[in-house]
Symmetry: C2
Subunit: 142 residues, 2 copies
């Protein structure tokens, strides 16, 4: 499987040991057309489906965080009881559907660059995230 070799290389490049679990997670996360959004729970379900042997919940957490630290994944700021991650690590923003709890990517044409005129001494800006919360137009909003 040439794809896997690719992932093994990529993992090595950022200094992560290409273990079975990590390579499998790469397959599940990156062998797809579009980038996608998920919670740990989503990912565990996907992995159990697509894998012969089982993977520990703790491993999924560890690996997701390892990927995040190395820039393979981005955590998305939504105030929810769960954490959301995104395989699209480029600078972009999100719509959050409050009815379905789905995340929708914005590409760079959807939202104009955000112009920040304030700066805090001694601090550098790590990220600028825009979250547009939407809900059904007819029914009553929260």
């Amino acid at each position: 499987m040439p794809k896997n070799c690719n992932f093994i290389e990529k993992l090595r490049e950022v200094g992560l040991r290409p273990t079975k679990q990590r390579v499998k997670m790469c397959e599940v996360l990156y062998n797809r057309e579009k980038t996608f959004h998920f919670t740990i729970n989503d990912l565990v379900k996907l992995l159990s489906e697509k894998m012969n042997q089982k993977i520990s919940l703790a491993t999924v957490y560890n690996t997701v965080h390892a990927f995040e630290k190395k820039g393979y994944l981005k955590e998305i700021s939504i105030n929810s009881d769960k954490s959301y991650f995104d395989t699209n690590t480029s600078l972009h923003h999100h719509f959050y559907d409050e009815d379905t709890h789905e995340l929708i990517d914005c590409d760079e044409n959807d939202i104009d660059p955000v112009n920040i005129k304030k700066n805090i001494t001694g601090k550098k800006i790590n990220s600028v995230e825009v979250l547009v919360k939407v809900a059904s137009d007819n029914q009553n909003q929260k």
Copy 2:
């Protein structure tokens, strides 16, 4: 105490029964110069300090959510293990200090209006939130 009467009236206006606990929470939350940001835990600590009798954790949760539903408080979208609330319910954005986990208000001059060019059919925009994550400039970032 004329302040409390004020709060009692305000609570009545939005259809919340002005119980001892709710009035006390109003005092703690709104008898201050600046708007402020807190987690449930922060608030519980503040309340236990400033109150003679104790208040149940469940009551703090219930009351915060009651206040949120009635527009007395706004929840802020940060991906954290805790929920953050803001006594400033007007449209504004935030800086989040990843070192200290502190929230800092932006006023309308700090960030230009965000121009959203995408719209999702059948959905209306409920809110647009910008979160600027900052961290110390010298030490290594996450």
